[in-house]
Amino acid sequence: MISLAGIDRSFQVGDQTVDALADVNLDIGAGEYLSIMGPSGSGKSTLLNIVGLLDRPTGGVYKLDNRDVTRLTDEEQARVRREKIGFVFQAFHLVPRLTALENVSVPMMLSGIAISERRQRAAKSLEDYGLGDRMDHRPSQLSGGQRQRVAMARATIMHPPVLLADEPTGNLDRASGREVVGLLERLNASGVTLIVVTHDPELGRRARRQLHMVDGRINADNVLQK
């Protein structure tokens, strides 16, 4: 499903070139549960951003569903992000002035879905995430766990086949974190490809496939046998 071949990503810092990713080759099948671990600056977030089409590699080929997505126009990339990829962030990134319901509706708005359908689908999704009574609350009126659940509802509202989570439990207490992880894993069990970037070894070990990165390279790729 996801195929990265010889991916490089270098940044210009002053007069120095820093390689955030160097010759990364990675194939991820549909429905996999993958964690990416490694120290800060090892390139795990950069990798996630490239998979999520938020960043363009300086070299190499990235195929999503057998389609080279590195050369797409901005408009086409936006469409791929909208339809195929869901993001969950450490900082939730909810729009503070919008209610939970409106936040969940934003991706549907961007794809031009009619407002009545948007409301209906967003409401149903929020109910599924146990937030039926919080729809008209603004993010500031919600707890961290609730905010992350709103963010998850937003990430999954377009039913993307791939879900990318960058430290999804980083800003949460243990109980809320466990809850969010449970929800992510339930989505994975229903067939969604789940990629989690984390510092937390406990979270990372839960994945069936565990990547370890150092200095922009994958130095370990362990698949747990069931």
Binding site: N49, L54, E75, A78, E83, F89, A91, H93, L110, R154
Partner: protein
């Protein structure tokens, strides 16, 4: 794709989400638009005021006055030591020979002491004839105006304005009483209606006497003006040329008088005041441009304040074009609100001016209102292009990393 309704709704939520910022921007824009509206209304009001004043004089009017206003190449008058001829009563009567002229009023003006018993004051005294009343559309409060008579015959009668009547005859009815004007006595036969100020003459403080009496009183055989009225507006120009010829013939072929139509004078004032209105409107428009730059500034700040939101929108599938249109619409809405509030502000301003000065017909001309709104929209939108582009170009990775 996102529909226009969604874009507007989302942008509107952004505006309501940042109330202080939005309010400040709207005020800045509104002051600009309001200033344009109020200032042009003042200019336009001045123009209308003058136009009204002139039309109260009658619109089919031709004014004759002694002397040439044009500068010629040769100055024969000076070479032979001859001053311009007087404009006489006979000239005035001769003007009536033009078949386009229906009536004339010779005018003589001076200042004199008016006294009644121990009361006295100085006032402008106008010498004229019966026709003056109709030409100037003067209202009488009571009594009679000058009766139709031979203009060359002096009569000891006068008509006085309201203020003079009150001040010189505090406790009696002036009509039928004697009033001393200069060194002569005149019988008051009528009181002018209250009309207020009209083209420099305060009719309330005016005394009117027969033109021949005024010539004797001021020892001035030359007339100050001849007013001639034509039957139709269309015949104004023909009548003007005829009058010029008649007086030229009478003055031994010298064209030593100036004949202007009311229209020509009016057109000049009209032009001057329109230019003035345009100028003040232009000055006010500068404040609008400043408001536009403010909008840009605020939108740029908004972009940097909302980098995380922009990054997020990109992550969940917004294209650059969509981000651009969202920020653009936000600025456009901001300008539109500002323009609307500005128009309201302008309307209130005009209302206040009208309350304070009821005689002054302040009204913003339609073109100025249109131009103000257009300028507001153009500056608002124009200065939003850069912030919107900056938002669209934002790198989502960096945008999301910033918290």
């Amino acid at each position: 794709m996102m529909g226009p309704g969604d874009v507007v709704r989302f942008s509107f939520r952004s505006l309501t989400g940042f109330r202080t910022r939005t309010a400040l921007m709207v005020i800045a824009m509104a002051i600009g638009v309001g200033a344009v509206v109020v200032l042009t209304a003042l200019g336009e009001g001045a123009r209308r005021y003058v136009v009204n004043e002139f039309s109260s004089l009658g619109s089919n009017l031709i004014i004759v006055f002694p002397g040439r206003t044009e500068t010629g190449g040769n100055v024969p008058g000076m070479l032979v030591g001859r001053s311009p001829r007087d404009l006489t009563l006979e000239d005035a009567v001769a003007v009536l020979r033009s078949r386009h002229v229906t009536r004339i009023a010779p005018l003589n003006i001076g200042s004199a002491y008016l006294s009644r018993g121990r009361l006295n004051r100085e006032a402008p005294v106008l010498g004229t004839t019966h026709e003056f009343r109709d030409i100037r559309r003067l209202e009488m409060d009571r009594g009679n105006f000058l009766p139709p008579a031979d203009p060359t015959k002096a009569q000891s009668i006068c008509i006085i304005g309201q203020t003079l009547a009150k001040e010189l005859f505090p406790n009696e009815e002036p009509i039928g009483q004697w009033l001393r004007i200069g060194d002569r006595r005149f019988r008051v036969i009528g009181i002018l209606g209250a009309k207020g100020r009209s083209l420099g003459f305060d009719t309330d403080e005016l005394a009117i006497i027969p033109v021949a009496s005024a010539q004797q009183l001021f020892n001035q055989p030359s007339l100050f003006r001849i007013l001639a009225e034509t039957r139709h507006r269309e015949s104004l120009d023909t009548a003007r040329d005829e009058i010029r010829r008649i007086i030229k013939d009478r003055h031994e072929g010298d064209e030593d008088v100036t004949v202007v139509t009311q229209d020509a004078v009016l057109a000049t004032f009209d032009r001057i005041l329109r230019t003035l209105t345009l100028a003040v409107g232009g000055i006010a428009a500068i404040s609008l441009a400043v408001a536009g730059i403010l909008t840009m500034n605020v939108m740029l700040v908004a972009v940097s304040q909302r980098t995380a939101e922009i990054g997020l929108l990109k992550a969940i599938g917004a294209s650059r074009r969509q981000i651009r249109s969202l920020f653009f619409t936000e600025a456009a809405l901001l300008s539109a609100c500002g323009a609307l509030v500005g128009l309201l502000l302008g309307a209130v301003g005009i209302l206040i001016i009208r309350q304070l000065y009821p005689a002054f017909p302040a009204a913003a001309p339609a073109w100025a209102v249109g131009a103000a709104v257009l300028t507001a929209a153009l500056t608002g939108v124009g200065f939003s292009v850069m912030p919107a582009r900056r938002a669209a170009r934002l790198d989502p990775v960096i945008a999301l990393a910033k918290r």
